[in-house]
């Protein structure tokens, strides 16, 4: 009978020195396989005396377990080495570029969404109306008398006349939607009307198409102090800073009394900063809805009253986000859109901010 310790050291050495997983398995079979040396020794137990068995049984089992553990340990080492060797050949140049092509949203649309959020918080919903309007909705119902010089202040685009010589207009402001709303909906009314508007004018600060947001509140109690407060609340919310404002009288045919609101600003280099400063800039027109407009819409001015306001979206966008030239807004230069546009993942809201 071979000495167990000899057997142990023989196989321990073999396992220790093997470098190949296949050879390791051969060694395992030679020692622990069915016909392996250790297994053969185990078979001799049956012929042994009880005393011998008591000694040799545990010793052989111990040897078997020890060698099995050594094989497993060696196997794990060799597998690790094999994996490392394989991984060593699986390298990539991680500096190679990848691209994520995401487009942007237009600043005018962003600003209209910002306005909708701020006014939604004050209970305004968003109404819309057609760009091609008739004279009644764009002028007459809004208390622009026929032939009055006030109509000249709007450089109106006309469409080709119909067979009777009547001409439709491209709406010169979003105010016709006031009329459409008041004629179809019972007060209380709180709407804002964002949309495209048109005037026959083109230079650095005028484009033949531009955007306005109109506001209208009609109920039985809203007065001009609310108008002032509503607009002050809006302006500071919109510019995302405290803005000093000035409310001063003006004239519009469809409001009485009428007013304009100015904001403080300063120039820092080429940049205009709204909020504080030594200069005033006019930013919107507004007023109490003219009694004639209410009457034109079938509302009794002794019962109902309210205010309306209107402002230029493109100009507000330029003031807030610093675009220097209005005309670029509609030129669709991909580089301009990339620079001044907004991420589609940004959703203006009061919880996480407007922009």
């Amino acid at each position: 009978m071979t000495d167990l310790s000899e057997l142990k050291s023989k196989y321990a050495n073999l396992i220790e020195s093997v470098t190949d997983l296949g050879n390791l398995d051969e060694i395992r079979v030679a020692a622990l396989g069915k016909k392996g040396e250790v297994s053969l020794q185990m078979r001799t137990l049956g012929k042994m005396s009880v005393e011998e068995k008591k000694v040799m049984g545990p010793a052989l089992n111990g040897l078997k377990n020890e060698l099995a553990a050594l094989v497993e340990a060696r196997k794990s080492v060799l597998e690790g080495e094999a994996l490392n060797a394989a991984l060593a050949s699986e390298t990539l140049d991680m500096t190679l570029p990848v691209t994520t092509d995401t487009g942007t949203l237009h600043p005018v649309m962003q600003v209209m969404e910002e306005m909708a959020v701020i006014f939604a918080d004050m209970g305004f919903s968003v109404a819309e109306g057609p760009d091609i309007e008739d004279d009644f909705h764009n002028f007459t119902a809004l208390n622009f008398p026929v032939g009055h010089p006030a109509r000249d202040m709007h450089d109106t685009f006309f469409l080709a006349p119909d067979s009777e010589g009547n001409k439709m207009v491209l709406r010169t402001h979003t105010s016709p939607v006031q009329i459409r709303t008041m004629m179809s909906q019972k007060p209380p009314i709180r709407i804002i009307v964002p949309g495209r508007t048109y005037r026959c004018d083109s230079d650095q600060t005028h484009t033949p198409m531009f955007h306005q947001v109109e506001g209208l509140v009609i109920d039985k109690t809203t007065h001009m102090g609310h108008l002032k407060g509503c607009l002050m609340d809006f302006i500071s919310a919109f510019f995302e800073t405290e803005v000093e404002t000035r409310f001063r009288p003006h004239h519009f045919p469809f409001t009485e009394p009428s007013a304009e609101m100015d904001v403080r600003y300063e120039r820092v280099g080429d940049e205009i900063r709204i909020g504080q400063g030594d200069k005033w800039m006019e930013i919107l027109g507004c007023g109490m809805v003219h009694p004639n407009v209410l009457i034109n819409c079938g509302l009794d001015p002794d019962e109902y009253q309210g205010f309306a306001f209107g402002m230029g979206v493109d100009r507000l966008a330029m003031l807030k986000y610093g675009m220097p030239d209005l005309r670029d807004m509609f030129a669709s230069d991909q580089r301009w859109l990339g620079h001044y546009g907004f991420s589609p993942l940004l959703q203006a809201n009061l919880a996480t901010g407007l922009s």
Binding site: S125, M209, H226, Q334, P344
Partner: protein, 795 residues
């Protein structure tokens, strides 16, 4: 409207300086546009005295002057022939900017022919105060040395330019500006009342009106024996300050009346008038107006004519024939009222403008027709001498405005301002209203120059703006408590989501013109005559667009021309089919220029399928079930006939078109290369059904493994793959949960005219594991359904 501070102070007693006046005007609704003070550019100049003027030793035409200035004695070399001892001059120190020469003097004395010269004595041209360049200004010896030149010449008089809103024609006279400023408390309104001039002989010219609507009243009188030379300096200074050129005393007086009282007048040389003066409608005559242009007077226009000819366009412009010259001795002075609408229409038709027209078309004070005549008469007699006839008035002065029944409570109701009754009365009275405040409802008489006031709300505006809107307490709009519905409409939300989906697809949002050229509109199946603009801003933008693609394509080409060829743009905006409100539809259109993008992982080129992906991304963001949409061909002629598709639900509801654009359309727009595009109609995307609860319903998932089976079918080349996919999906709706197409093959092994489509069918058992028999059964069903659709299992 321009006026000078000193002019204002003739009507308003006040100590206020220019800044206070501007502030008060702004807060009262007179929006100041510009303030210019001629003194500012003269700040460096002062009065100096020439002590001696000796001939320059080395130059015949130069003089060496010793000049006493505010900075001490200065030696100045001067080339002016009129420079002499004891002269009072305008002195410019070293370094001063000379406006008329547009340069600054050196800061150090300059040697002129070897002699130091420290400063300059100025001509009127060098100071932009006249054309005289022959010599230096020879000023009044009474002026004190060292005095600022602006003060010495009384030029320290700022000029204000402000916006006159169309409702306030009375602001076109300085008098009424002063009235408004008095009401806001800036001073006292001190316009003197008009003193009538008694006529000394009957008016020798008859005045008649044959057009009562266009000219309700025409007052006039003859002044004989006048001398029409240059007007006095005070009048010239006034007119020059506001940019008017003095012409002659008579003309300057009418201009003065126009700006002082918003009362245009006209003066005719009676030696050129034959017979009766008549206000009548035109009869197609032509006449030459004072702007030296010839005009034809239509039957809708009001003219002033004598028995032989048209002398002027009433309220707009007089004619050269009866105009006043230096030889004029006898004149007819006209003060009339011309109908605003007639004036405006006539001037617009003829394309003529004047200060008179600007006032008459807005409405002049009907109460100042005769007073204006009297006031001007007095000025003419004072300046030009002569003798006035009696006044004749043809027609009738229009009735004064209706009084307003005013409930003083309306002020608080509309503005929230608590203003005491006494203050309201003070404001209105200062503005010229008369008030009977004895009852609860006041009776407010409106002055004839304030015809803009017709309603209680108009009086509220007068009270509020005079009190000051800046004093108004701002109140946040009360917001109703409780639950509120979302304020955006479902359509707005759909568009909002689609826009974000498209930007995520890599397209950038643009906003482009709603109008295009009609030629381009026609290429996109639009350009209807009813959608053509009558007065386009340019021929590029003369027709409402039928598609938002037009400007996106043009913008893409512009970028390409600048070296950025791979534009990918979209726009959410309107398109127009007719003039009617429902002829306008919201669309979302987008385009990608087909440009290969080189990349180390393999080049990518957008194609018609990229457009399909874009459209699908937008549609599914809007809530459309894109797998259920039917595919057909777009009807628009601008799509590539073989590489475009239309997505619809049912025969009429068209959601989107996509694909490549027709090459000839691109050519017509001047677009190089190819472009894939899409157009989506968000209106057509069905709104999600409104459910009783927001709960999503229970999730039913099976624990059993799905089974995949692959099939290959042979179909005719021109058969749409979706027909087969639909058929296979329908073979067992419970068991088949997905069918995906993983290969399209044409070539060896497949007959010409056919293609092979390979499908991966997912079978998802719900209750028990599938047996071979189950799978066999569903396979047979799939093959049978595919066959019905025109497909054969590939052998």
């Amino acid at each position: 409207m321009k006026f000078s501070l000193s002019w204002l102070k003739e009507h308003l007693k006040t100590d206020a300086g220019i800044d206070e006046v501007v502030e008060a005007m702004t807060l009262a609704g007179l929006e100041v546009e510009e303030v210019e003070n001629p003194a500012e550019k003269l700040a460096a100049f002062s009065i100096a005295k020439v002590v001696s003027a000796e001939k320059h030793p080395d130059a015949d035409k130069l003089k060496v002057c010793q000049v006493q200035t505010k900075d001490g004695m200065k030696q100045i070399v001067c080339g002016a022939p009129n420079a002499r001892a004891d002269m009072t001059v305008a002195f410019a120190p070293l370094g001063a900017y000379i406006p008329g020469l547009d340069f600054s003097l050196d800061k150090k004395p300059r040697k002129i022919r070897g002699i130091d010269s420290s400063g300059m004595m100025c001509s009127s041209k060098e100071l932009e105060m006249g054309d005289d360049h022959d010599g230096i200004m020879d000023l009044d010896n009474g002026l004190e040395m060292g005095m600022s030149l602006a003060d010495a010449l009384e030029l320290n008089d700022p000029v204000i330019d402000f916006e006159v809103t169309p409702n306030r024609p009375d602001w076109l006279g300085v008098d009424n500006i002063a009235r408004d400023l008095a009401a806001v408390g800036l001073g006292e309104w001190i316009t003197p009342s008009v003193e009538p001039v008694k006529g000394t002989f009957p008016c020798p010219i008859t005045i008649e009106i044959d057009a009562n609507e266009a000219c309700p009243v025409f007052s006039g009188r003859v002044i004989r024996g006048v001398k029409n030379g240059p007007s006095p300096e005070w009048l010239q200074t006034k007119l020059k300050a506001i940019g008017l050129k003095p012409i002659s005393a008579l003309v300057d007086i009418t201009n003065f009346m126009t700006y002082d009282r918003a009362r245009p007048l006209h003066v005719y040389d009676t030696s050129k008038v034959t017979g009766t003066m008549r206000a009548r409608l035109g009869a197609g005559e032509t006449f030459t107006a004072l702007d030296d242009k010839e005009y034809t007077c239509a039957g809708t226009m009001c003219v002033i004519a004598d028995d032989t000819r048209v002398l002027g366009l009433g309220g707009i412009m007089g004619g050269t024939h009866s105009g006043c010259s230096e030889e004029t001795t006898d004149v007819l002075l006209e003060s009339a009222y011309f109908d605003p609408l007639t004036t405006r229409r006539s001037a617009k038709t003829l394309g003529i403008n004047s200060d008179a027209k600007y006032r008459f078309e807005r409405g002049v004070d009907t109460g100042f027709v005769v007073n204006g005549l009297e006031m001007a008469t007095k000025l003419i007699l004072e300046i030009c001498g002569g003798e006035a006839s009696e006044v004749v008035v043809a027609g009738e002065v229009p009735a004064p405005p209706e009084p307003i029944a005013f409930d003083p409570k309306l002020n608080k109701r509309l503005t929230g301002l608590d203003i005491e009754h006494a203050e309201m009365v003070r404001i209105l009275e200062t503005l010229g209203f008369d008030i009977d405040a004895s009852g609860d409802i006041w009776t407010v008489s409106v002055p004839s120059h304030r015809r803009d006031c017709k309603l209680g709300a108009d009086l509220v505006e007068e009270i509020a703006r005079t009190h000051g809107l800046h004093q108004m307490e701002a109140k946040s709009l009360p917001v109703e408590r409780g639950r509120r519905e979302p304020t955006a409409t479902p359509l707005q939300n759909k568009i909002r989501r689609a826009r974000r989906a498209l930007a995520n697809q890599g397209l950038s949002e643009a906003v482009t013109w709603s109008f295009s050229s009609r030629a381009h509109a026609k290429v996109f199946d639009g350009g209807d005559a009813a959608l053509v603009l009558d007065n386009p801003i340019s021929s590029d933008l003369d027709c409402m667009r039928p598609s938002a693609l037009i400007h996106l394509l043009l913008a893409g080409q512009r970028s390409a021309d600048k070296g950025y060829p791979a534009s990918a743009l979209f726009e959410a905006g309107p398109t127009y089919q007719s003039q009617a409100p429902n002829g306008q539809a919201p669309t979302i259109a987008g385009m990608r220029r087909i440009e290969s993008k080189r990349d180390w992982q393999g080049d990518s080129v957008p194609d018609a399928f990229t457009a399909k992906e874009d459209a699908f991304a937008a549609l599914s963001a809007m809530g459309a079930k894109v797998d259920n949409l039917q595919m057909s061909k777009p009807t628009g002629s601008y799509w590539h006939p073989g590489r475009s598709g239309r997505l619809q639900m049912g025969p009429k509801n068209i959601l989107a078109d996509f694909g490549e654009l027709h090459p000839s359309v691109l050519k017509a727009l001047g677009i190089e290369g190819r472009v894939c595009a899409f157009e989506i109609w968000p209106d057509a995307v069905p709104a999600g059904r409104k459910k009783a609860s927001k709960a999503k319903g229970a999730l039913s998932i099976s624990d059993l493994m799905p089974v995949h089976r692959d099939f290959a079918f042979i179909v005719p080349e021109d058969m749409g793959a979706d027909k087969l996919l639909r058929a296979v999906k329908g073979a067992d709706k419970a068991l088949i949960t997905d069918v995906s197409l993983f290969d399209v093959y044409q070539g060896k092994g497949v007959d010409e005219g056919f293609k092979s489509l390979a499908l991966d069918v997912t079978l998802s058992p719900k209750s028990e594991t599938l047996t071979d028999k189950d799978i066999e059964a569903v396979t047979l069903k799939i093959i049978a359904q595919a066959k019905k659709s025109g497909a054969e299992l590939r052998g």
